[in-house]
C-alpha cells in the first residue's frame, strides 16, 4: 500500500469546477424539452458521436492526469512521514514503468538497441548498445525480436477485440449515432490493445534525446492541451456574455464604452498582445520566486496565466456576436411585452435574452477549443507558451525541431506529437461541427 498526500493544483480545481459546471449545465438543458431534442439530434450525428468517443478518451486521460499527489518516501526510522517533492498524478502511477524506464538517449520505436553507436564495454570498436529496458525480457535472444513483437500485438489485439465485442453487444441496435459509437470504440480498442501489450516490454514510440519514453510524453501532453482549450473559457465566457449582452441591451454610453474596449483589444494583433502579456507575466513570476513552494506549482501558475491571457485576447469576437444578437432580440415582441409588463432590465437580460443566445455561446466555445489547442503548440514553439518544464505538444515539438535534420533522421517524437495533436483537434473540429448542426436554429431548417 503506497501512502500518499493528495495535492490540489489550482488548475486541477478549476478543471473540476469546469467539469461540474458542464455536467450540471448539460443536465439542466436535458430537462428542458426543446433543448433535449437538440441533444438527441446531436446523438444521431454519426461523425459527431464518433468524435465524442475519441474526445472522451482524451478527457479521461486528462482527468486522470489531474488527480495529483505526492508519494510518501520510505520511512527513515520513526520520524514523521516525509513526502516526495515531485508532484505525481494518477496517470503517472498507471504509467510508472514508462516514466521511470528511461534509456540513455534516442532509440527507435520497439527497438532493442540504442539509435547511435557507442563504445561498448568489453568489445573492440563501437556498436549499438543494448537498451536497458526495451526488450529486456528477451535477454540475449535477439533473433526472436520480430517474433516476440508479433506475439504481443496479436495478444493485445485478441484481448481488445474481446473487450470490444462485449461493449458492442451492450451497445447494440440504435441509430447511426449508436453505430458510430461502436465503430469508433473498435478503432480505439484496436489502437490501445497492442500498444498496452507492447508498452510492457518495449518503448512503443521510441525514446527522445534524454531517453524518455515518447508515448509517456505524448500522453502527458494531453492534459496541457485540454487545460488550455477549456480553462480559457472560464475567462472568455463571463466577459463575453456579460459585456456582449449588456452592450446590446443597454445601448447608450455603456454600449459605446464596451465597443471601444473590444475594438481596442481586437486591433492589437493577437500573437503580439499574447507575447507582450506573457513576457510581462514571466517577469512577475521570475521576480517573485517565493510565491511558489514547488516547481510544479510555478509551472501550474504559468499555465493558468497563459489561459488567462488567451482568454483576455479572445473574448472580443464572442462579445461582438452576442451584442449583435441581443440588438436583434431586443426588438422582438416577447421582450417588448416583458418591458411593457415592467419586468426589470436585469431580469429581462437573464430570463429572456440569455437563454436565447445560449446556443451561440455553446457553439463558439466548442469551436474555439481546437484553435486553442493548436495555438498552444505555436506559442510554446515561439517561447511564449507554457513553462519549459511542462510537458505539452508544443514543448515536445520544440525539443524535437532539429531531429529531422539529423543523419540518420529521428522522426518518432515529431510524428507522435503531431499525430496525437491531430487526433485531438480533428475530433474537436468534427464534434464542433456536430454541435453547430444540432444547436444552430438556422442549420436546423
Amino acid at each position: 500500500m503506497i501512502e500518499f498526500k493528495p495535492v490540489l493544483l489550482w488548475s486541477d480545481i478549476l478543471l473540476f469546477v469546469l467539469l461540474g459546471l458542464t455536467l450540471s449545465g448539460a443536465y439542466a438543458s436535458w430537462r428542458s424539452e426543446p433543448m433535449r431534442r437538440q441533444w438527441q439530434r446531436l446523438g444521431r450525428n454519426a461523425a459527431g458521436m464518433a468524435a465524442a468517443m475519441v474526445l472522451s478518451f482524451f478527457i479521461v486521460v486528462g482527468v486522470l492526469d489531474s488527480l495529483h499527489y505526492r508519494a510518501r518516501l520510505p520511512a527513515q526510522g520513526d520520524t514523521a512521514p516525509v513526502y516526495g517533492v515531485e508532484v505525481l498524478s494518477v496517470l503517472d502511477a498507471l504509467l510508472m514503468p514508462l516514466k521511470t524506464n528511461s534509456e540513455k538517449t534516442y532509440s527507435a520505436p520497439l527497438a532493442m538497441r540504442l539509435f547511435a553507436k557507442e563504445a561498448v564495454e568489453g568489445e573492440v570498436g563501437r556498436d549499438f548498445p543494448r537498451l536497458r529496458y526495451g526488450g529486456a525480457h528477451l535477454g540475449d535472444d535477439e533473433e526472436n525480436h520480430g517474433w516476440d513483437v508479433a506475439v504481443q500485438v496479436l495478444g493485445g489485439l485478441g484481448a481488445s477485440m474481446a473487450i470490444w465485442l462485449a461493449l458492442a453487444w451492450r451497445l447494440r441496435g440504435g441509430g447511426p449515432g449508436r453505430a458510430a459509437v461502436r465503430w469508433s470504440l473498435l478503432l480505439l480498442c484496436l489502437a490501445a490493445g497492442p500498444t498496452i501489450a507492447l508498452a510492457a516490454h518495449y518503448h512503443v514510440l521510441g525514446t527522445d534525446k534524454v531517453g524518455q519514453d515518447v508515448l509517456y510524453l505524448a500522453l502527458k501532453s494531453i492534459r496541457t492541451g485540454l487545460l488550455i482549450g477549456t480553462l480559457t473559457t472560464l475567462v472568455t465566457l463571463p466577459l463575453a456574455v456579460l459585456l456582449g449582452i449588456l452592450a446590446g441591451y443597454a445601448g447608450g454610453w455603456l454600449d459605446d464604452a464596451i465597443q471601444y474596449v473590444y475594438t481596442t483589444l481586437n486591433s492589437i494583433p493577437g500573437v503580439l498582445l499574447i507575447a507582450a502579456a506573457v513576457l510581462m507575466m514571466q517577469v512577475v513570476i521570475d521576480t517573485h520566486p517565493d510565491w511558489f513552494s514547488t516547481a510544479a506549482e510555478r509551472a501550474d501558475a504559468r499555465l493558468l496565466a497563459l489561459c488567462f491571457i488567451l482568454g483576455m485576447t479572445s473574448w472580443t469576437g464572442l462579445a461582438r456576436l452576442l451584442r449583435g444578437e441581443t440588438l436583434k432580440l431586443r426588438e422582438l415582441d416577447y421582450v417588448q411585452a416583458a418591458q411593457a409588463f415592467g419586468v426589470s432590465r436585469r431580469a429581462i437580460m437573464l430570463r429572456h435574452i440569455l437563454p436565447n443566445v445560449s446556443h451561440i455561446v455553446l457553439i463558439a466555445l466548442v469551436m474555439d477549443f481546437s484553435s486553442l489547442v493548436l495555438a498552444e503548440a505555436v506559442l510554446s514553439y515561439v517561447g511564449i507558451g507554457v513553462d519549459p518544464t511542462t510537458i505539452s505538444f508544443g514543448t515536445m515539438i520544440n525539443a524535437a525541431r532539429m531531429e529531422l535534420a539529423r543523419e540518420p533522421m529521428v522522426w518518432w517524437s515529431l510524428v507522435a506529437a503531431f499525430s496525437f495533436m491531430f487526433a485531438l483537434v480533428l475530433a474537436a473540429n468534427l464534434f464542433a461541427d456536430a454541435v453547430r448542426d444540432a444547436f444552430d436554429p438556422r442549420a436546423a431548417q
Binding site: 471601444y260 474596449v261 475594438t263 481596442t264 483589444l265 481586437n266 486591433s267 492589437i268 494583433p269 500573437v271 503580439l272 498582445l273 507575447a275 507582450a276 502579456a277 513576457l279 510581462m280 514571466q282 517577469v283 512577475v284 521570475d286 521576480t287 520566486p289 481546437s370 493548436l374 503548440a377 505555436v378 514553439y381 515561439v382 517561447g383 511564449i384 505538444f393 515539438i397 525541431r401 529531422l404 535534420a405 533522421m409 515529431l414 503531431f418 495533436m421 491531430f422 483537434v425 480533428l426 474537436a428 473540429n429 468534427l430 461541427d433
Partner: protein, 325 residues
C-alpha cells in the same frame, strides 16, 4: 468621400491611444523598470548600480507619469510615458537593446516580409476561392463530401507540421529548394518558393471551408434561381452571379488583412531564416527586448485600423448601393 476618410481617421485616434495605454500599463505598471532590469541582468547578485546603469542606458530612469523635478513642460515630457509611449505617435520608437534604431530596422525588414506575405495572400486567396467554387459546383455529391472532409483534416493539422514536414520533404528528400535563407535580386526567388508554397497549403483547409459556406448561402437566393431559370449554364451562374454577390462578405474578411501583411509571419520567417519583421519580433521576444515588442504592438494595431478603413472603402467599389457619407 474625402471627408469620410478624414472623420474615420479621427475616430481611429482614441483606439490608438487605448492601445498605447494598454501597452504602457503592461510594460511599465505591471512591472517596474527595476523588475525588468533585474530579469535581464539575472535575478540574483545584481547590484543597485547595475540596475541604475541599465535603466539610464535605455532611458527608463525617469518617473512614470509626472516629473516634479523638471520645469515647465518638462514635468510632462521628461517622463517614461512621454518618451516611450507618446512619441510612438510620431513613429519614433527609440532604440533596441542592441543599440539599433527600431524605425530604421522596421523599414529595412518590411521588404522581405512583404515578399513572403503578399504572394501567400494572393495565391492563397485564389486557391481557396477556386477550390470552394469547385466544391460548390459539385455540391451534395461524394466529391463535395470528400472535399469537406479533406478541409476539416487540413484544418486539424498544426501549422508547425506544414512547415517542418514541408522543409523535410521538399528540401531534404527531394532537394527542390533550399531549406532556409534569403538572397539578393533574382536569387531571392528560389528561397521564396518553399515558404510561399507552405503558407498557401497551410491556409487551404479553413479558407476553403469558409468560402464554401459563403457561396452555399448565396446559391440559395432568388436571383440565382432566376439566372438558372433563364437558361444560364451553371458555371456562368457561379462565376458571374454568385461570386460577384459574395464579394461583400469576402472583402470583409480579406481587406482588413492587407495592411497587416507588412508585419510578416512569425513562424514562417523564423523557420526559413527570412530577415523580415516576423523574425525580428521573434528575436525580440526571445531576447526579451521590450522596446521592439512595444513598437510592433503599436504598428500592428495601426495597420489593423487602416485595414478596417480600407474594408469600408472597398465596399463602395464592389457594391454601388453603398455610399459613404
Amino acid at each position: 468621400m474625402f471627408a469620410y476618410v478624414v472623420r474615420r481617421l479621427i475616430y481611429a485616434l482614441p483606439i490608438l491611444i487605448g492601445v498605447n495605454l494598454i501597452t504602457f500599463a503592461l510594460f511599465f505598471v505591471v512591472n517596474t523598470p527595476d523588475d525588468m532590469a533585474r530579469l535581464q541582468l539575472g535575478v540574483k547578485r545584481v547590484t543597485p548600480e547595475a540596475i541604475a546603469k541599465w535603466k539610464a542606458e535605455r532611458g527608463y530612469d525617469k518617473p512614470l507619469l509626472w516629473n516634479a523635478n523638471a520645469d515647465g513642460a518638462g514635468k510632462l515630457s521628461e517622463t517614461i510615458f512621454y518618451a516611450k509611449s507618446v512619441r510612438m505617435f510620431a513613429l519614433d520608437f527609440g532604440r533596441a537593446d542592441d543599440g539599433r534604431d527600431i524605425a530604421r530596422e522596421i523599414r529595412r525588414r518590411m521588404g522581405p516580409s512583404l515578399a513572403i506575405a503578399l504572394p501567400v495572400f494572393v495565391l492563397g486567396l485564389w486557391a481557396t476561392v477556386s477550390f470552394a467554387l469547385v466544391l460548390v459546383f459539385f455540391r451534395a455529391t461524394a466529391f463535395d463530401l470528400a472535399g469537406t472532409v479533406f478541409c476539416v483534416a487540413m484544418m486539424s493539422v498544426s501549422g508547425l507540421f506544414y512547415i517542418i514536414g514541408g522543409q523535410w520533404l521538399l528540401s531534404k528528400v527531394w532537394h527542390l529548394a533550399p531549406i532556409s535563407g534569403y538572397g539578393e535580386g533574382i536569387d531571392r526567388v528560389k528561397f521564396l518558393i518553399l515558404p510561399v508554397l507552405i503558407g498557401v497549403i497551410g491556409g487551404i483547409g479553413s479558407g476553403t471551408r469558409w468560402y464554401r459556406t459563403l457561396f452555399l448561402e448565396e446559391i440559395g437566393r432568388d436571383y440565382v434561381r432566376t439566372a438558372r431559370a433563364k437558361g444560364l449554364s451553371e458555371h456562368v451562374v457561379l462565376f458571374r452571379h454568385v461570386l460577384k454577390n459574395a464579394m461583400i462578405p469576402i472583402l470583409t474578411g480579406v481587406v482588413v488583412v492587407i495592411p497587416t501583411l507588412f508585419m510578416g509571419s512569425l513562424l514562417t520567417e523564423s523557420f526559413f531564416g527570412i530577415p523580415g519583421l516576423g523574425s525580428y519580433t521573434i528575436e525580440a521576444i526571445n531576447a526579451q527586448d521590450f522596446a521592439v515588442v512595444r513598437a510592433m504592438v503599436f504598428i500592428g494595431a495601426a495597420l489593423y485600423i487602416l485595414g478596417l478603413l480600407l474594408t469600408d472603402l472597398s465596399y463602395t467599389w464592389v457594391d454601388p448601393r453603398v455610399r459613404l457619407e
